[in-house]
């Protein structure tokens, strides 16, 4: 039997990081406030966890101006999508092996 723990990525262990990845898997891009609203987290929390994910090349953060308002949008990278898919598969395998 394959070891399911192998597929687990410790980058997604944190609940907020897990949340950010989850919503970016099903949306091409989301902006800061949209993610904040779904996850129900504070600004500082979201910003720091998102920055950590960007550092690991899991997500891409794009800052631009819409009119005069600054807007930060987030998207999962291909690497991030693949890693998260592995993470999901590992969680599912864990669940199947220890019901």
């Amino acid at each position: 039997m394959k070891n399911p723990i192998k597929g687990l990525h410790k980058e997604f262990e944190n609940r907020i990081k897990l949340g950010i990845m989850s919503v970016l898997m099903v949306n091409d891009t989301l902006d800061f406030n949209e993610i904040k609203e779904v996850l129900e987290v504070t600004d500082g929390n979201l910003a720091s966890h998102a920055a950590a994910l960007e550092k690991k090349n899991m997500i891409r953060i794009t800052k631009k101006f819409i009119g005069k308002k600054p807007n930060t949008s987030y998207a999962a990278t291909d690497h991030g999508r693949q890693s998260f898919t592995e993470h999901l598969a590992a969680l599912e395998a864990l669940l199947k092996n220890n019901p």
Binding site: S22, L30, I35
Partner: protein
């Protein structure tokens, strides 16, 4: 405690909340079905009185009334449901749902207007059912997935209505009345109770 199971549940919930408009109320389907049945009965009485050369205005008024009442009820009940589920009623998700629902409906609506303009009435009911079904299937990616199957059923009814012509009003009452009531009740049972 966090386990693989709670993580997976959380992930699924977040994916759904961030990409689908989940506040669509099943009860609005039930009401739409009731209005449709009343509308079908009124149309039946109107058809008995209409001479072949008469205008279709009374029928159009009935149809528009059913549609308007259904939409108003749906907006009201879905707003109430959204408030309860803490979801916004007018945001990117609901707009995306409406847009995707509308594309087949608008295409079908224009198709119908052209046919009616050419005095071809045989296919009016099948076209309504089929395009409505396509709209539901197209929109189902952005809301509760259940409505996909309602879409399949509407298309099947539409094809049957094309095959067995001459019972237009009965097919219409089945598709827009009965199916809505049965399906709406089931969705209410599943998601809102």
């Amino acid at each position: 405690m966090r386990t693989a199971e709670t993580d997976l549940q959380e992930i699924k919930k977040l994916m759904e909340r961030s990409s689908r408009f989940i506040s669509l109320s099943g009860l609005s389907g039930v009401f739409a079905g009731i209005y449709a049945l009343i509308g079908a009965w009124v149309a039946h009485l109107q058809l008995l009185r209409i001479e072949s050369s008469d205008s279709l205005l009374p029928l159009v008024i009935t149809a528009v009334s059913v549609l308007t009442a259904s939409i108003i009820t749906a907006i009201f009940l879905t707003t109430r449901n959204a408030r309860r589920k803490n979801q916004k009623i007018w945001d990117k998700l609901s707009q995306r749902l409406l847009w995707n629902l509308s594309i087949p409906l608008l295409a079908g609506g224009l198709f119908l207007l052209i046919l009616i303009g050419q005095q071809q009435f045989e296919l009016v009911v099948p076209i309504m059912l089929i395009f409505y079904g396509l709209g539901l299937i197209n929109g189902s990616k952005y809301t509760l997935d259940d409505i996909r199957y309602l879409g399949y059923l509407e298309i099947i009814l539409g094809l049957m209505a094309t095959w067995f012509q001459g019972y237009g009003l009965i097919w219409w009452a089945l598709g827009f009345g009965l199916l809505h009531i049965v399906y709406g009740t089931w969705m209410y049972w599943k998601h809102e109770r």
